[in-house]
Symmetry: C2
Subunit: 149 residues, 2 copies
């Protein structure tokens, strides 16, 4: 019954880690099982930041907190595999927009279903009340932990 006094309360940052890791693993597993087994975790972390109208390499880099060079490297692979395409940015001839391509859209469809399944499990475990509370607190916390909206 008594607690080990050396084990203190885990901090909120660490507590956030476990759900995120599980979500990522479950979604990647579902996507791979659906035949999209040539996408890596690093690629997916760039891919999931592509906006509906396409996103620039440099914006992807900033949001994922990795160098432009690394994003170029990963987008090259995503493009070769048919998940994304590069199109000119009409507002700036230096830039190109990375957009989700046909194969990418198909993978997203699988991913959103898997996401919803995992989230439903969580809500079932927590109960409606705590789940709503969790979402609200995390949404507010995002205001100060994510510079991108």
């Amino acid at each position: 019954m008594s607690e080990d006094p050396r084990r203190s309360e885990p901090n909120l940052g660490l507590l956030c880690f476990f759900p995120h890791r599980q979500m990522e693993a479950r979604v990647m597993g579902a996507v791979a099982a659906a035949g999209f087994d040539d996408i890596t975790l690093a690629q997916s972390r760039v891919f999931q930041r592509i906006g509906p109208d396409g996103t620039r390499i440099s914006d992807l880099a900033e949001q994922a907190r990795i160098s432009k060079q690394t994003v170029t490297f990963l987008v090259d692979q995503l493009e070769r595999a048919g998940y994304v395409e590069r199109v000119p940015d009409p507002t700036d001839a230096r830039a190109r927009l990375v957009r989700i391509a046909a194969r990418g859209r198909a993978a997203v469809e699988v991913a959103v279903v898997a996401e919803a399944e995992v989230e439903a499990e969580w809500v079932r475990h927590l109960g409606r009340r705590d789940a709503a509370c969790l979402r609200r607190a995390l949404t507010r916390l995002r205001e100060i932990t994510d510079p991108y909206r």
Copy 2:
């Protein structure tokens, strides 16, 4: 005022990502600023899983979800830099326990202070009520997202 209909509610897994990333970055920054600037993110992710009485390589691997070989590689570096030491496991002559060494304890001291600072900022932003609610929900969520207690 009106929402872009294409941007749906971010899932809970993603929402957990931002706080975790910020906590990790802030703690790493504080530790590096205090002179422990020879520790990498990958090393720290293994390091933080070492228990108070030492932990085996294979247990660290399982908890961090990386291969034993990678943990051996990272622990080699942590040991050379004085953050950890390897001692024989008295219960099994095949195994060795990775334990936090003097320099490691000094780094942990800095880390826990930084952690508390970040968490205090979060609580200030959320308010006592939502912060307590967040901690409770995350603690319960850990039951089903972290197999290690």
